[in-house]
């Protein structure tokens, strides 16, 4: 059938409509409907221009590193639930460079990112070696490392952070092990020197040497204290980083445990592949909401963002609660979770015995719907609802059989579409009651669209015996026959599939070329 690539998303439908309509080619005529629907189909399309603020919100959302890790479908769905239109979402995806609306390209992008991350990790591993030799650079290096980490995926971030902390710890330990002994040895050497000097000038220089030694020792101690302090600072920053990362890790662990428990539950419930999903969807309520929180972007930051956006809309006053399921329902669920199958299930073969069984002939013609009747003819509001099936159409049935009834169908639909085209004229926002509707929906100036002049003339006799409104239409009909005939042929021109006569050719110059094309495509 028509594939999406064949249909340009435009309002002027061409072949696909004819293909869909061919299945019903003896009935009404989609071309007229489409003409009217070009003006009215726009009602079912979002006419707002893309809102820049929403697009920027979406760009911020999509740029978030946690969101990067989530499947594209979830990202789109989230934005749709926030009220963004398709245009706005597409624009946001266009603006965020790394994220692609296509899931397959996302995987390749991840692959590329993996390569980038690995090379940067190698660089980072070299950094700790350098830090060993230059202490003051430590804090700066660590901050730059943190900045680099925020650009990568979360698990790579964890890996990197893990390496970082290990490297820093090693650095601190090595500092302590190398520097402190060096310091001690240096102090010892000074003291020894002093001792050696002291041996020569024992009494006089001893106090001064001792003072000098003490001063040197003090300065060494302060230097050592400084070093200790800086290393402590480094450790603190590391511990802070560690804490944040640990929080993240714990949340991810929670997610992972949830997922493993879910997986375990699913595996347990594996009695027929669809059972567990039936369970979760039967529950409906919180589960439907929980998938959003257990998704990849279930962290405090994104949720707070989403909540801040949501707070602009009126608060949801009702919270869904789990409806108490019947006791036997819970028993059956428990049975299935244990892996047992309920005993009352039979093996039934419900395949069609003859897949090529021809379709039956309908015994009854389709009856017009109450809302369609109200549009086509005006009936007294009180009586028609209960007599919807026993109105003038049944009389037609009795008189002329299928032909006339089938003729009635396109008439109804066409007038329905005509009425819809007129509704905006009434400024038609709401519907009060049935009666008001009926009165409003009957448009006095419009003559009823009649397809076949011969049939119209034939019907005119039995119709005169019906309600007064029919006589009104009769008056209208008799008033200006030539106008009617023109209208009839015009409508029949557009209703090409229905017509048997060749009225198409004579009035082709009256009709716009586009309808001509449609007529020819339908007739073909």
């Amino acid at each position: 059938m028509s594939s999406p690539s064949d249909d340009p998303p435009s309002k002027t439908p061409q072949n696909p409509v004819s293909q869909v309509a061919q299945a019903n080619d003896d009935r009404q005529d989609p071309k007229v409907e489409m003409e009217k629907e070009i003006s009215s189909a726009s009602v079912f399309v979002n006419a707002e221009p893309p809102r820049e603020e929403q697009v920027q919100n979406a760009v911020r959302f999509l740029s978030h590193p946690k969101v990067r890790g989530s499947p594209v479908v979830y990202r789109r769905s989230f934005l749709e639930r926030k009220g963004l239109t398709k245009e706005e979402i597409d624009e946001a995806f266009r603006r965020v460079p790394d994220s692609n609306p296509d899931a397959t390209t996302t995987l390749s992008a991840v692959g590329k990112q993996d390569g980038q991350i690995k090379s940067s990790l190698n660089d980072q591993q070299q950094h700790p070696v350098q830090v060993l030799q230059s202490t003051p650079v430590g804090p700066a290096v660590s901050t730059s490392k943190v900045g680099a980490i925020s650009r990568f995926r979360w698990y790579h971030g964890i890996l990197a952070a893990g390496f970082l902390t290990v490297a820093q710890v090693i650095a601190a330990v090595v500092f302590k092990r190398l520097f402190v002994p060096k310091l001690k040895s240096w102090i010892r050497w000074i003291v020894l020197e002093e001792d050696v000097k002291g041996q020569t000038k024992k009494f006089d220089t001893k106090p001064s040497i001792a003072e000098e030694a003490a001063a040197a020792a003090k300065s060494a101690a302060t230097a050592a204290a400084d070093v200790a302090r800086t290393s402590q600072d480094m450790l603190m920053t590391n511990s802070e980083e560690k804490r944040c990362l640990e929080e993240l890790i714990s949340m991810l662990r929670v997610q992972a445990s949830e997922m493993t428990s879910l997986r375990g539950a699913i595996q347990k419930l594996e009695v027929g592949h669809s059972i567990t999903s039936r369970q979760s969807t039967e529950e409906h309520n919180i589960k439907g909401f929980s998938w959003t929180t257990s998704g990849p972007y279930a962290n405090g930051k994104v949720d707070s963002d989403s909540r801040s956006v949501r707070s602009l809309s009126p608060p949801v006053s009702v919270e869904p609660s789990v409806a108490p399921h019947p006791k036997s329902y819970m028993e059956i669920m428990a049975m299935i979770q244990r892996g047992e199958k309920p005993s009352n299930i039979r093996e039934i073969n419900d395949a069609p015995p003859n897949p090529n069984q021809p379709l039956p002939n309908p015994h009854l013609a389709p009856k017009p719907k109450p809302w369609e009747i109200g549009q086509g003819q005006s009936r007294s509001a009180g009586t028609f609802p209960s007599q919807a099936s026993t109105n003038g159409f049944s009389i037609d049935d009795q008189l002329n059989g299928d032909n006339i009834v089938r003729w009635r169908q396109p008439n109804n639909t066409r007038t329905t579409e005509t009425e819809i085209g007129n509704e905006p004229n009434f400024g038609f926002p709401s519907v009060a009651t049935n009666e008001t509707l009926l009165k409003r929906s009957w448009v006095p100036p419009q003559p009823p669209s009649v397809v076949m002049p011969e049939a119209a003339a034939a019907i005119r006799q039995p119709k005169k015996s019906l309600s007064q409104t029919d006589t009104e239409t009769d008056d209208l009909k008799s008033a200006d026959i030539t106008d009617e005939l023109q209208k009839i042929t015009k409508i029949s021109e557009m209703g090409g599939s229905f017509e048997a006569n060749g009225s198409n050719s004579t009035h082709s110059n009256e009709i716009a070329p586009s309808t001509d094309e449609r007529a020819s495509s339908l007739m073909a």
Partner: protein, 314 residues
């Protein structure tokens, strides 16, 4: 008022568009979790009698009558298939078609009331498919929802427009001539289980959700609902606009009640029936008889009663 007891738990009930006294019921064994299903065709009268029943291997979640053939029923089966039954043939010759394309359960089916040539199926595989009765394969597949599609409804005036309600908390409006959806309504914060178009105003649509509310929207101004109908105690399972009164609609819910609403009125609730003793999951309003309601529930009972009377009255 007559009541009918089905052996399995009810899931959906639909009046025939051709015969005033015919009603079809979709039922599933074991609440639809796992088990067989059965389609009942019931004859209304002083008592409800069963005209014919068709057994299925898996539960039947929904069904619809054909608008073009008075004896055809399309059933949405929990194994993902759609089965077409012909009442003019004996049960042994049925079903006449089995259309199996969905990857997950088929949860909703609706027949086109304008062109009367095609029907749509809504599935838990996140897609909606368009079919015609004479073709063995689907005509179109609409894949945009991010979660189960619970319900799909044709517009009663525009032959190419339909709406779908999904567990991804959005309702979407589609045009079969367009490749994707034409409007996205972020209608609720929770799953949307059902939607229906107003029969008398082609731009009004109602959505029913797990959040216990029914919201009425005008698609021309879809950011703010026209009305929010609260009152149900639990998730609203189905909503159906009246074929006879423009602003009236019926709804059924897991709170076991069937309610009637008029969203144009200040106090919207105009009727409440608590005849079911388990979840009320299916409700329908007859197109041929004004005011006639039918409902089915997990208590295995099917009620048919005129609005304003007590469904349980003998």
């Amino acid at each position: 008022m007559p009541v009918f007891k089905t052996p399995f738990n009810g899931y959906s009930v639909k009046f025939s568009p051709f015969y005033e006294n015919q009603v079809a019921v979709a039922t599933s064994q074991n609440f639809g979790i796992l088990g067989n299903g059965r389609v009942h065709v019931l004859q209304l009268g002083p008592a409800i009698t069963e005209r014919v029943a068709f057994d299925t291997a898996d539960g039947v979640y929904d069904l619809c009558w054909s608008e073009s053939h008075d004896s055809l029923i399309v059933a949405a089966i929990a194994d993902g298939s759609l089965k077409i039954y012909d009442l003019s043939l004996p049960p042994t010759a049925n079903p006449i078609r089995s259309l199996h394309e969905h990857g997950r359960e088929c949860h909703g089916v609706d027949f086109n009331t304008v062109r009367k040539d095609s029907f749509l199926s809504a599935s838990w595989d996140d897609t909606v498919k368009l079919w015609t009765v004479d073709r063995p394969t689907s005509v179109r597949t609409f894949k945009e929802h991010a979660y189960c599609v619970y319900s799909v409804v044709w517009n009663p005036r525009h032959a190419d427009v339909f709406a779908s309600a999904s567990g991804d908390c959005t309702a979407r409006i589609w045009d079969v001539r367009e490749p994707g959806s034409t409007m996205i309504l972020p209608a609720h914060e929770f799953e949307i289980l059902s939607c229906d178009w107003s029969k008398y105003d082609d731009c009004i649509i109602a959505t029913a959700s797990v959040d216990k509310s029914i919201k009425v929207w005008d698609v021309r101004n879809y950011r703010v609902p026209l009305a929010v109908l609260n009152g149900h105690g639990y998730a609203v399972r189905k909503v159906k606009f009246s074929p006879h009164r423009g602003s009236m609609m019926a709804s059924c819910s897991y709170d076991m009640t069937v309610r009637l609403w008029d969203y144009m009125v200040e106090d919207a609730l105009i009727g409440r029936y608590d005849h079911h003793t388990e979840f009320a999951v299916g409700v329908d309003m007859s197109v041929l008889v004004e005011g006639l309601l039918a409902s089915c529930g997990w208590d295995e009972l099917v009620y048919v009663w005129p609005h304003g009377t007590d469904p349980r009255a003998p």
